[in-house]
């Protein structure tokens, strides 16, 4: 069976999404177990696949039995093996954690909601696993369309934000499609490896350069890289908790993966870094992205929205790291895909719990939360520490590699931006903690346990996944060395030093 893992990763969620949509019309209570079962199989196969890749190297899976480049093939190497495992695990944990909030927020629409949820995961996994540039586009649109639906469920300003996201997302995806068209017209192929084989003769072509630029811009739009980020904050803020804690950790990260795939596999580092020679400006752009993300986050008075601006800064980390043009920076960027997905999940799940209990994420809703929801806040603190970059949480180590890369590349601006953003994150998160911790202020000097507010925690099903994620943050941090030596090291082509 393990030979079929690459197929199962995408097919099982797809089938389970279809079954959910049927089951939704029969009995709503079946939806959740089916979704969890489907996502578990996907998670199991992708972790299994990662271990197989570690043993055997790149795995090619020919869909329909056709040899690439005639047919579509999956290429699973160390890079997407890692991302696959992260995506599927994040999706599974979030599905379990958000059960209650889904039932609370829209009890009537459980069936279609889970259908879209699992379809979105299918799309994201498909984007990561595929080795065909056009197939990637189709899956991109699946992930996007389902994402619009999931975001617009939020009510209020949700639909408007989703519509804006749709415009931007469509432009992004179309740009990507156009870029692939340019590559197709120049090479006649759609298979990534095949394109990479043909391209070196065409490196001087204007059309190939344009293809690269268009693809990049398209992907940047989708990942909300500054200055193309305007759609993201509202879309993520007004989405319901269950959606935002799926979309926020995964979508931008998967798009970063696509960008790295474009740089490393399709265009090769030689072309991206040496022939184009645009690394410096892009790194400076990401420096601006980090600064802007951090500064804009400071002005927010809503926890969820604040986090969305941090995501924009984090996108800057990864784009900058990837474009530093050296091995260490790329290592940092790849590592940060995994780490950022996990820590974003952690904080968003915590916010989900908070919203579930106190019905809002405005700062004034947060008063006294350390007393009221100590477990949720405990996990939130770990997530926040990881975002700040405190060892031994994983956020520290990817930052470590990113900064090392910046030093090696002589891009001190990027180093300063990363440190600045860490410091701003301290301010941001401790501002939240202060509200949760001090307010309402005790008028007396706080002697004696006069009226301890009763603990009012989220249900266990929401807490356990949250704790698992928080624990993973620390564990991944401690195993950074192994991850880098056994996975990331092989994910980057030898040519990049």
């Amino acid at each position: 069976m393990s030979l079929q893992y690459p197929g199962l990763i995408v097919v099982v969620p797809l089938l389970s999404a279809l079954v959910i949509s049927i089951a939704g019309w029969v009995n709503k209570r079946w939806c959740f177990p089916i979704a969890v079962a489907g996502l578990s199989v996907a998670a199991y196969s992708s972790v299994g696949l990662l271990f197989r890749v570690l043993d055997e190297g790149v795995i090619v899976y020919k869909l329909g039995g056709w040899d690439p480049p005639m047919g579509i093939a999956y290429y699973v190497d160390h890079l997407n093996g890692l991302v696959l495992a992260v995506v599927s695990v994040v999706a599974l944990l979030n599905a379990i954690a958000s059960k209650n909030s889904i039932e609370q927020e829209f009890p009537e629409r459980i069936g279609p909601f889970y259908t879209l949820y699992v379809l979105m995961v299918t799309g994201l996994l498909g984007i990561v696993v595929t080795g065909d540039a056009f197939n990637l586009y189709v899956l991109l649109e699946i992930a996007a369309l389902t994402g619009y639906g999931l975001i617009a469920m939020g009510g209020g300003r949700g639909p408007l934000s989703a519509l804006n996201y749709l415009y931007m997302g469509t432009i992004g995806a179309c740009f990507y499609l156009l870029g692939i068209g340019y590559l197709y017209i120049m090479t006649g192929s759609l298979n990534m490896v095949d394109i990479a084989r043909i391209l070196p003769d065409l490196y001087q072509s204007k059309a190939v350069m344009a293809a690269f630029i268009i693809c990049m811009v398209g992907v940047w739009l989708k990942m909300a890289f500054f200055p193309l980020h305007a759609w993201l904050p509202n879309a993520y803020t007004f989405a319901p908790s269950a959606s935002s804690s799926l979309i926020a950790p995964l979508v931008t990260k998967v798009m970063i993966y696509v960008m790295i795939r474009l740089i490393l596999t399709i265009f090769t580092p030689e072309f991206s870094f040496n022939i184009l020679a645009v690394s410096k400006p892009i790194v400076w752009l990401s420096v601006i992205a980090i600064f802007m993300g951090a500064i804009l986050a400071l002005s927010e008075r809503n926890l969820k929205k604040m986090l969305t601006f941090i995501i924009i800064a984090e996108v800057g980390y990864m784009v900058g790291g990837a474009w530093l043009g050296n091995r260490v920076g790329m290592t940092g960027a790849i590592l940060h895909i995994a780490n950022d997905a996990l820590m974003t999940l952690c904080v968003f799940l915590a916010v989900g719990n908070i919203v579930y209990k106190v019905k809002g994420a405005e700062f004034e809703n947060l008063q006294g939360l350390f007393r009221k929801m100590p477990f949720t806040m405990g996990a939130f603190v770990i997530g926040a520490m990881s975002m700040i970059g405190v060892p031994p949480t994983c956020g520290f180590f990817s930052k470590w590699y990113l900064i090392s890369g910046a030093i090696q590349a002589g891009q001190y601006g990027f180093m300063v931006a990363l440190l600045f953003s860490s410091l701003v994150n301290v301010v941001l998160f401790f501002r939240v903690f202060e509200i949760c911790y001090y307010e309402p202020f005790s008028d007396h000097h706080g002697h004696g346990d006069h009226h301890p507010e009763p603990i009012d925690e989220a249900p266990v099903t929401m807490l356990v996944p949250l704790f698992i994620v928080a624990a993973i943050l620390v564990l991944v941090g401690l195993y950074t060395g192994d991850i880098v030596n056994h996975i990331v090291e092989f994910a980057i082509p030898k040519g990049l030093v």
Binding site: P392, W400, Y401, L423, Y438, F441, G446, D449, D482, V484
Partner: protein
């Protein structure tokens, strides 16, 4: 040198970490405090069990995780680390006892949280002591910063919030903004962060870069409170007294001092600093802090604030001693970690005991208090002597070696600084004791009946005072450790 691989360092660090879930979930205060004691005793025993090996010159290492090539999360117990771990873990027991008396005496809220974070802070402190490289040290340094935040802001009122902000701003701001980049630059220049006698820069010639890195690392560890990055320490005095005692006389500030020692001896190495004449630079920075802090202390009326400024000055002794780069000076600096710890914690305990028994916080309100609380004030006297550096207390030895160190290094200005500041120390401590005992009945603000603080408060301070005296007669353990630490 013999190297032993053992899990003991990890156990020593994690014993208080592991106990935190039990502390957090225990409902009855007695159970909670029993666990605290058990963890504290276990910790001391584990640390102490490593002493013989270390005294034989062996090193105990344990690698937790190989996170970054050349910089694992790794423990290494050497003489200097052992000295510090021994001091901090043994003082945890005493402080735990004192905390019980203090917290119950004042009926503080959120005692469970207090004990949990106290345990966390202790884990971090011992972690710093046993770190084998700069990365591990940074890890525990940061952990300590965040674990002590809830302790500093225990009262959860407006004042606590603003102090907490200041605390974070200085401590975390410097560690992320200065130490982290400096560490990364070191790492990228040399490919390692492992502490070693020769330092990691052996063979590199970038004098300017090294100077900048040195300054960044020395000032960046702001817990050592070298001026101008000192003002978090007086602000942090809003914390409950046991917190001030352990953390601001022992754990937090000493972690800062210890980190600087590690940076000077392990990262840069004595030889390099001597060759580049960088020790002198650090000496002048430290001596400035010594003098100015002592002068400010003179003018403080709040007892805890005066103690805080005294601490700032004393911390710079440690840095000064090591920066002299002469063997005697380094021994002095290192032993000062221990000697000052016992002396200063006694003083803080006394301040807390006074607060519990009488509610007084200002020195001007303490005239004649010796009649009311004779035991406490005698202990205070002993503590003062130790901090000033007079026999028969342990503080004498560290001062003595510091003075010898200046002579050995031929640094006359430093000798003057040391002697001058000792006079200042005496000037801001002894009047308190004098006024406490020798005043006319009219001046006395207290009735003439003896009424001490609860036994849980008094016993610890008596113990630490006695230890301070004992250290005068038996200083060999710490002196030997310090001698080993400088490699002789």
């Amino acid at each position: 040198m013999e190297t032993i691989v053992s899990i003991k360092p990890l156990l020593a660090v994690s014993v208080s970490l592991l106990v935190t879930p039990i502390l957090a979930s225990s409902r009855a205060p007695n159970v909670r405090e029993a666990w605290t004691f058990m963890a504290a005793v276990a910790k001391v025993l584990i640390v102490a069990s490593m002493v013989p090996a270390v005294l034989k010159g062996a090193e105990i290492v344990y690698t937790v995780a190989e996170v970054v090539p050349g910089a694992a999360i790794k423990f290494r117990v050497d003489a200097l680390g052992m000295l510090f771990a021994l001091v901090s873990s043994s003082l945890w027991i005493v402080t735990s006892a004192y905390s019980i008396g203090y917290m119950r005496g004042l009926k503080e809220h959120s005692q469970t949280r207090y004990f949990v974070f106290f345990a966390l802070a202790l884990s971090a402190t011992v972690g710093v002591a046993f770190s084998a490289n700069l990365l591990t040290l940074y890890l525990f340094y940061e952990m300590l910063s965040f674990a002590t935040y809830p302790l500093v802001t225990h009262h959860q009122d407006h004042e606590a919030r603003s102090s907490g902000r200041k605390y974070l701003l200085y401590i975390v701001g410097t560690s992320i903004g200065i130490v982290l980049p400096a560490m990364l630059i070191c790492y990228n220049m040399t490919g390692t962060l492992e502490f070693s006698m020769q330092g990691i820069f052996a063979g590199t010639e970038h004098k300017a870069t090294i100077t900048v890195l040195l300054l960044m690392l020395v000032l960046g560890f702001a817990k050592v409170a070298i001026m101008p990055l000192h003002s978090w320490l007086p602000a942090a005095m809003v914390a409950p007294t046991p917190v001030s005692a352990l953390l601001h006389a022992v754990a937090v500030v000493k972690v800062g001092a210890f980190s600087v020692l590690r940076v000077l001896t392990g990262v840069f190495g004595v030889n390099l600093l001597t060759n580049l004449h960088l020790g002198t630079v650090i000496c002048y920075i430290a001596s400035f802090t010594v003098i100015v802090a002592s002068l400010i202390a003179l003018s403080q009326d709040g007892l805890k604030r005066r103690l805080a400024f005294s601490t700032i000055g004393q911390l710079s002794y440690i840095v000064l001693g090591v920066a002299l780069l002469s063997p005697k000076g380094m021994i002095g600096g290192m032993t000062h970690i221990a000697m000052h710890a016992f002396g200063k914690i006694t003083l803080f305990f006394c301040a807390g005991a006074i607060a519990v028994a009488t509610g007084k916080k200002y020195i001007s309100e303490m005239v004649g208090i010796g009649k009311r609380m004779p035991v406490t004030m005698v202990a205070f006297f002993i503590g003062s002597l130790s901090v000033i550096g007079l026999p028969p207390t342990g503080g004498f030895f560290s001062k003595w070696y510091l003075v010898l160190g200046t002579l050995q290094a031929d640094q006359m200005p430093m000798l003057i600084v040391l002697l001058g500041s000792s006079l200042l120390n005496a000037a801001y401590f002894l009047p308190i004791v004098y006024k406490a005992f020798f005043c006319t009945p009219e001046e006395s603000m207290f009735e003439n009946t003896i009424q001490e603080a609860p036994i849980w408060c008094v016993a610890p301070l008596v113990v630490t005072a006695v230890i301070s005296v004992v250290l005068f007669f038996y200083p060999t353990l710490f002196l030997n450790l310090a001698k080993l630490a400088i490699g002789g």
